[in-house]
Amino acid sequence: MTNTAIALDRTFHALADPNRRAILAAVRNERCAVGEIAGTLGLSQQIVSHHLKVLRAAGLVTGSRSGTRHLFAVRAEGLSVGKEFFDDFWPDRLTALKRAVESSAGGR
């Protein structure tokens, strides 16, 4: 697999979970500590920590320190995967169009 394919798989795997999507939504607008996220979503801190680990590995959230508090926020670059996907989609489709036209028409 290419690095892009691996990154795509990791991102989609991370997103393919309702709790992880809820956590992303919770840290979308402001940085939050694990306890705050857990309280907002009604999940245990262990579960939230686990999901944050997966999200961080996929590059979807980033952590930072504020004094003694460890805060998490959405990482915008990690969310560009949808855009990048369409960057590949149409070139791939056009290549398929070229192949289909030229094989059926036998050139012009």
Partner: protein, 147 residues
């Protein structure tokens, strides 16, 4: 709103290329597995791509120069049917035709608000777009707490 542009040179006349954009057999030979097309302004544009229903309508049909369709996915909140626009511009060249596709109105720039929607259809689409066979169950929306 994001926009994507891409182009390719095809060794065939614009009239020939045009048919691949507006006929069902032509369309499914390069995109999707099933299509229902009514290529008149306001007519239906429906193509199933890897089980994902791309839906919209023809906005402009100008043979053999230009086709514009509205584009979205049925059941997809971030990109509902008809929510974005795809245009195909065909320009005659010495070797045949240059096709430029412009996909505009995509919500990619607002992805944080569209995570749910994107994650529903992109994985399967990504696989089929690179020519891969679709495994049935590698992607699951179910909660997993064991990894």
């Amino acid at each position: 709103m994001a926009e994507h542009r891409s182009s390719i040179d095809i060794h065939a006349a614009p009239e020939i290329v045009f048919d691949f954009l507006v006929t069902e057999a032509g369309m499914t030979s390069w995109m999707g597995q099933w299509a229902s097309l009514d290529p008149v302004p306001g007519g239906q544009f429906a193509v199933d791509i890897a089980g994902y229903p791309a839906r919209g309508s023809f906005l402009e049909v100008d043979p053999p120069r230009r086709v514009r369709v509205s584009w979205g996915f049925a059941g997809n909140e971030s990109l509902p049917p008809g929510s974005s626009t795809v245009s195909f511009e065909l320009t005659p060249t010495s070797a045949g035709t240059r096709v430029e596709v412009v996909h505009s109105g995509l919500p990619a720039d607002e992805v944080p608000g569209h995570i749910e929607g994107w994650s529903h259809f992109l994985p399967r689409l990504a696989r089929t777009a690179v020519g891969g066979q679709l495994p049935t169950d590698t992607w699951s929306p179910q909660l997993s707490t064991t990894e």
